[in-house]
Point group: C2
Chain length 319, copies 2
């Protein structure tokens, strides 16, 4: 029987989850719950205020809500009534979020899978597995090439900047050092370069470049590239939300060295985050069906529960 | 309380497991069981014929035995009396091995973790997780740089070859194609190059090179490099057992592409295989302590069970 799913929230992530569910062989999408009733979608849309009355029609509720305020304010209430999956990404507060969701989900006999996506999420999984293999190790996480919204906003606040985007890009020399076990010398400032693409009048280029490379916190201390381009080039090349990164773990085993690396190259950060969230929804449903309840992190979930195929098929195909 | 472990078999893998256990904060090594009683080690050595009398002193038994004949002949008998971890690597026969170990382990109320290591093992884990994220995808596994024993043996059978080693090396163009989602065109012959390092008299080099590049099955159809070196160079540079590889999965999500890559660079294949096996022993013990029994593949094991640290610490550190 199909897993009956629904979505709360309809930004980039919610749209990615909607599209992903359509491609799952074992899921159907009951509807999208939103404060807005006019959404540009063929999926049925319902007021989020009415969601509790749909409780017996929904197996898994995908929380596609922001981590800054929506998840902390609303997630536990959803977990009391629904099996949920979120992509909460405030690393420092994940243990507290886990505890809150555990209590809420357990009280409703539901499962709450927390902090899926890729970082936290698949990167967390890899950090734990890789570090478990070494008595001592050096572990570095690199992010990018990816759009930094905060830095892009900072560029757009500069006088004369008409359009701007900032990509954070891991430096090849830092990645090489991590792969060779020398990642302890890699700091936030030396791990990444900041690449700026700007549309502005030519007469302003020199001043804008100066303002960028002297901007404290955001750019000072980093390797910074500033590229001025035309409106057409900006429209053609810089509309996406690429992201990705590397988790590199290197350590000694006896007399020998081993390096474990997990890497992602993503054209669209929200589409991939959505794909991970949807797969963990399958696991959430299966955990619930097996009689369990409470919060689960990605570290606690047997990986085969992510796959639509039965274990026997995976053992024959992937192992 | 420490996990009381023991080892059966004392080749490269057994020695790697012994060394790894010494570095675990939560394990002790009770002894090594072998048919040979004279082993070059400080660990107590016992005759494998007596192993059943140690059943109440051992929590986890590491099966460091060959996959060709020893594991099929002996593993199930051990699983009836001990919680075991093996590195059985005959991919096609893993489902049958799993079934046999499941029955044996369940009959003794033990856990049997099967087919750990890196391929099968960590690569299997990554193949399952990555493929679960895409409606359709292209997945390629590359092996190397690593020593191929079969090809090295083939070189040594050529007249006049005094010493020889063959490394299988993934071709950069094939890896790039896989990363870009064009891995469907990559075949066994185009994925890897075969690099040969040979010690032989100079007068024989041309003939030996000819015999190599025209050897059917082993070398014809591959890109082949043949390097002649001195005895001293061979002794200095080619004594190790390096290995590694890449699992690359690429697919479309909506309008965008994502590529997931897991890579290993290993100075010593047996040392890393041992490190993975030892970590899964921790998981085996914890599964047993939680009251479960039967066979488990790496796909079924919650990843946090590999780590010596408690879940709370991992949630605060890695997630």
């Amino acid at each position: 029987m199909s897993i009956r799913t629904a979505i709360v929230g309809y930004g980039n992530l919610g749209r990615g989850v909607e599209n992903s569910i359509r491609h799952q062989p074992d899921m159907e999408l009951v509807g999208i719950f939103s404060r807005r009733t006019e959404l540009d979608t063929d999926t049925p849309v319902y007021p989020v205020a009415d969601i509790d009355s749909y409780a017996d029609q929904i197996d898994v509720l995908y929380l596609c809500l922001g981590s800054a305020t929506d998840i902390p304010a609303q997630a536990a209430a959803f977990a009391r009534t629904f099996t949920t999956v979120d992509t909460y990404d405030n690393h420092a507060k994940i243990p507290a979020h886990y505890m809150e969701m555990d209590e809420a989900a357990a009280s409703g006999d539901n499962i709450a899978v927390v902090a899926t996506g890729w970082d936290p999420g698949l990167f967390s999984l890899n950090r734990t597995i890789a570090s478990s293999l070494f008595p001592t190790y050096q572990q570095n996480t690199f992010w990018g090439k990816g759009v930094s919204q905060g830095h892009s906003d900072a560029l757009r606040r500069i006088d004369g900047v008409r359009r701007a985007v900032q990509y954070t890009i891991p430096r090849e020399d830092a990645i090489s050092a991590a792969r060779e076990g020398n990642g302890h010398d890699v700091t936030g400032h030396t791990a990444h370069l900041r690449q700026c693409w700007i549309v502005a009048d030519e007469s302003e280029h020199d001043r804008i470049r100066d303002e960028i490379i002297t901007m404290p916190d955001y750019f000072v201390g980093y390797e910074v590239e500033v590229h001025f381009i035309t409106d057409d080039e900006f429209a053609r090349d810089h509309q996406g939300l690429p992201h990705g990164g590397h988790v590199i773990t290197s350590g000694e085993l006896g007399e020998s060295r081993a390096t474990v690396e997990f890497s992602l190259t993503l054209d669209s950060n929200p589409d991939f985050t959505a794909a991970v969230q949807v797969a963990y929804g399958r696991a959430a449903h299966r955990l619930r069906e097996s009689g369990l309840s409470g919060a689960f992190s990605v570290l606690e979930i047997p990986p085969y529960l992510l796959a639509p195929e039965p274990l026997e098929e995976l053992l024959a195909r992937d192992v």
